[in-house]
Symmetry: C2
Subunit: 183 residues, 2 copies
């Protein structure tokens, strides 16, 4: 869907080709009501939608957070253009048989796939062998496709004094309004 | 206080001298229970403590979040060393007369000070003049020193396959335990 914030984000990505430019920070709320925040990799948009593709392990604390509070906000900072994008919306964990999940798994490198065969994240480390690479074509049960459907996008450009800031608000599935606000 | 995660973080900062290496992402929870996330500048530690100094505008959405839920999690990613630090703890807004707040204000550049004289953040932008620089030695009422007192630090090093991850947990004011966990 060709909404206005998509082209602004596409331009920022164009200027940032290094792999870590696809690292963003995802905030969620724990079952205890506490904020959590971690770096996660942007995997692209879902087909021709504005839905952001991420992945996670069903055994991770983040999956627990999402089960109890299915909302998230991404903060994505681009240092060369000095732009910040905040994308807030609902989160959906897809851990069942689904063609998008299957396609996402197949896109992963053997190293990325291997991580889903490691011991439980966050548990005390044991002197066990960690799989280094994996070629399996079907995802294991703990592999989740994680989708963020944004309904609010806040774009801040730190260039200029004063800075510029635009808020995009989803009115309907593909209808967005944009408003310039004070930074 | 010389706790173990401090030296690990100091080393990451040493390898990242560019100004944007001091940009981190702070997650909070809104009064509606939704996660929020934005980039904020690390201003150093408070005197000889492990308390992280940040600043904010009392008129910002973030200050509203903190008043209703005084907890935050910082996510801080260092691209050169491929390290992530997550620091979770309580947040304190200092908007009253206080020597640390006064010192923090005086440390700011004239450009950074000027932002606190701008129109209300997030409100529709008007064609008004924005102050470019400000030399005032006393902070305005909306200037807040924001302190994060970490009680949980999660350090992930993406170098190596498998990666390494250590969780530091505060037991008492200056007593921390460290445990190696699965990444």
């Amino acid at each position: 869907m060709n909404v206005s914030w998509r082209s602004v984000l596409a331009r920022a990505l164009h200027y940032h080709r290094e792999p870590h430019a696809r690292y963003l920070q995802l905030a969620t709320v724990s079952p205890q009501g506490l904020p959590h925040n971690r770096t996660i990799v942007f995997r692209g948009f879902l087909r021709d939608t504005n839905i952001i593709r991420l992945i996670t392990d069903k055994r991770s604390a983040k999956a627990e957070d999402i089960k109890s509070n299915p909302y998230g906000e991404i903060c994505w900072y681009f240092p060369k253009t000095r732009e910040q994008f905040r994308l807030a919306g609902s989160l959906q964990l897809i851990d069942y048989t689904d063609p998008d999940r299957q396609n996402q798994w197949q896109e992963l490198s053997p190293k990325a796939k291997a991580q889903f065969f490691w011991a439980e994240p966050g548990k005390p480390r044991q002197a066990e062998e960690f799989v280094r690479e994996c070629q399996t074509s079907d995802p294991p049960a703990n592999f989740c496709l994680l989708l963020l459907t944004p309904n609010h996008v806040d774009h801040l450009n730190l260039r200029g004094n004063p800075q510029t800031r635009t808020i995009y608000q989803c009115q309907d599935q593909d209808t967005w309004t944009a408003i310039e606000v004070n930074p």
